[in-house]
C-alpha cells in the first residue's frame, strides 16, 4: 500500500481540457443518422409517398415515435457522461413506453384476430429491415460510444442499454423512410425486434468499452 500520495504529480500533469458539451454528441448523432438516411435513400430509395410529398400516416407516426425515442435515449446517454449523485434522467422511459404501444397493439390485435397469417409478418422484408437497421445502428451507436469514452459514466450497464436503444431507434428510423410496409403486425414485430436487439447488443458491448 502506498501511504503518501504526491498531488504535485497530478498538478504538473495538468493541461487545459475542453469541457464535455451536450451539443457535440447531439451533432455527431444527428450527422450519423443523416449519413444513414442518405445512404439508404441513395442505395435503396425512399418510400414513394415521401417522394410524392404525401407521407402515409402510419409511416409518419412510426418515424416520429422512433425519432422521439432516439432523442430521449440519446440525451439520457449523454447525461451519463457527466455524473452526479442525485442526477435523475428517467424521462426516456416514457418515450420507451410510448414506443411499446406498437408491439402491444399488434399483440392485442393478434389475440383478437387469431389466427394471424404469416404473410402479414413479411418475414423476408423483416430480415432485410433488421439487417439495414442494424448496420445503421452500428454506425450511430459506435459514434456515441466513442464520445462516451471521454466522459465518466458510473452506471455502465444503463449507459450500455441507453446507447443501444438510441442507436437502434435512429437506425430503425433511417430504415423506416425506405420501408414500404405499414402494417401494424409488421411494425410491431420487426421494428420492435430491431430496437430491442440493438439495445441488447449495446448492453453487451458498450460497458467494457466505456469502463474507466
Amino acid at each position: 500500500m502506498r501511504t503518501t500520495f504526491d498531488i504535485d504529480e497530478l498538478v504538473n500533469d495538468l493541461q487545459p481540457v475542453r469541457r464535455l458539451h451536450i451539443w457535440q454528441p447531439v451533432a455527431l448523432t444527428a450527422l450519423m443518422t443523416m449519413i444513414a438516411v442518405f445512404s439508404i435513400a441513395s442505395v435503396y430509395g425512399l418510400r414513394a409517398d415521401i417522394m410524392a410529398g404525401h407521407m402515409h400516416p402510419m409511416a409518419m407516426l412510426r418515424a416520429g415515435v422512433l425519432l422521439l425515442l432516439g432523442v430521449a435515449t440519446m440525451l439520457a446517454t449523454i447525461a451519463t457522461a457527466r455524473p452526479a449523485v442525485g442526477r435523475n434522467s428517467t424521462g426516456w422511459r416514457w418515450a420507451l413506453a410510448m414506443a411499446a404501444l406498437f408491439p402491444m397493439t399488434a399483440l392485442v390485435l393478434a389475440v383478437i384476430e387469431t389466427p394471424v397469417s404469416l404473410e402479414a409478418l413479411h418475414m423476408t422484408l423483416g430480415m432485410y429491415c433488421l439487417r439495414i437497421s442494424f448496420i445503421s445502428a452500428l454506425l450511430i451507436g459506435g459514434t456515441l460510444t466513442l464520445w462516451l469514452r471521454q466522459g465518466a459514466p458510473t452506471s455502465l450497464t444503463q449507459a450500455g442499454w441507453l446507447t443501444g436503444l438510441a442507436a437502434g431507434s435512429f437506425g430503425t428510423f433511417a430504415f423506416s423512410l425506405h420501408c414500404p410496409e405499414t402494417g401494424i403486425y409488421y411494425i410491431g414485430l420487426w421494428y420492435s425486434l430491431s430496437v430491442a436487439l440493438s439495445a441488447l447488443i449495446g448492453r453487451l458491448l458498450v460497458p467494457p468499452l466505456i469502463r474507466w
Binding site: 500500500m1 502506498r2 501511504t3 500520495f5 498531488i7 504535485d8 497530478l10 498538478v11 504538473n12 500533469d13 495538468l14 493541461q15 487545459p16 481540457v17 475542453r18 469541457r19 464535455l20 457522461a81 457527466r82 455524473p83 452526479a84 449523485v85 442525485g86 442526477r87 435523475n88 471521454q150 466522459g151 465518466a152 458510473t154 452506471s155 455502465l156 450497464t157 444503463q158 474507466w212
Partner: protein, 174 residues
C-alpha cells in the same frame, strides 16, 4: 478546513482551464474530503489507496465536470464508483479494524448526508447490506459472516453478489 461547494466549483473551473494553483487546492481539499467520505466504509488500510485512485480518476475525467453544477455531487459520484470497484476486489480478512477517528457524522450536514455512502447502503435489502458490510467492508470470511449474522454461507455469497450489482447500478442515486 474543507472549502465549500461554491469555492471548489470555481476552483475546478479554473483547473479545467489549466490553472495549476487552483488545481492544487482542489486536490488537497478533495483528498481530505474523500478520506472522511470513505471512513468506516472501507478497511482503514485501504482508505489511502482508494483516495488516491479517486483523485487519479478525478484527474483523468476532469473534463466531465460542468462548472454550472455543484461540485461535490460530481466528486461523490466518482468516489462511489471507485468505492464499488474497490469492494469488488477481495482483501485480507485480518484488515478489519475500523478507524473511529476518521468517522464523519452523515447527519451533520444535509448535503453530505444526501451524497453519502451510507445513503447508498440504505437502499439495499437488509440481508444484502449486512452481507456486504461483514464480508466486503469488515473483511470477514464467508464462514465468519455466516456465524455472525445467521445467514447460510451460500446466502451470504448470493447477497454479496447481488448487493454489489445493485450498488453499481445506484452510484448516482440520492
Amino acid at each position: 478546513m474543507i472549502a465549500n461547494d461554491n469555492s471548489l466549483s470555481r476552483l475546478m473551473a479554473l483547473a479545467q482551464d489549466g490553472d495549476q494553483s487552483a488545481y492544487r487546492t482542489v486536490l488537497s481539499e478533495c483528498q481530505i474530503w474523500l478520506a472522511r467520505y470513505f471512513a468506516r466504509r472501507i478497511c482503514p488500510t485501504l482508505v489511502d489507496d482508494l483516495v488516491q485512485e479517486t483523485l487519479m480518476s478525478l484527474h483523468r475525467k476532469r473534463s466531465s465536470y460542468d462548472p454550472a453544477r455543484p461540485f461535490l455531487p460530481w466528486l461523490a459520484a466518482i468516489a462511489r464508483y471507485r468505492w464499488v470497484d474497490q469492494l469488488r476486489r477481495s482483501y485480507r480478512a485480518n484488515e478489519t479494524e475500523l478507524d473511529d477517528t476518521l468517522s464523519v457524522d452523515p447527519t451533520g450536514n444535509a448535503v453530505i448526508a444526501q451524497i453519502s455512502i451510507e445513503r447508498m447502503l440504505a437502499f439495499l435489502p437488509p440481508g444484502q447490506a449486512t452481507a456486504l458490510q461483514l464480508v466486503k467492508i469488515e473483511g470477514l470470511t464467508t464462514a465468519e459472516a455466516s456465524q455472525r449474522c445467521g445467514q447460510s454461507e451460500p446466502l451470504i455469497k448470493v447477497n454479496v453478489h447481488r448487493g454489489l450489482k445493485k450498488l453499481a447500478a445506484m452510484v448516482e442515486k440520492e
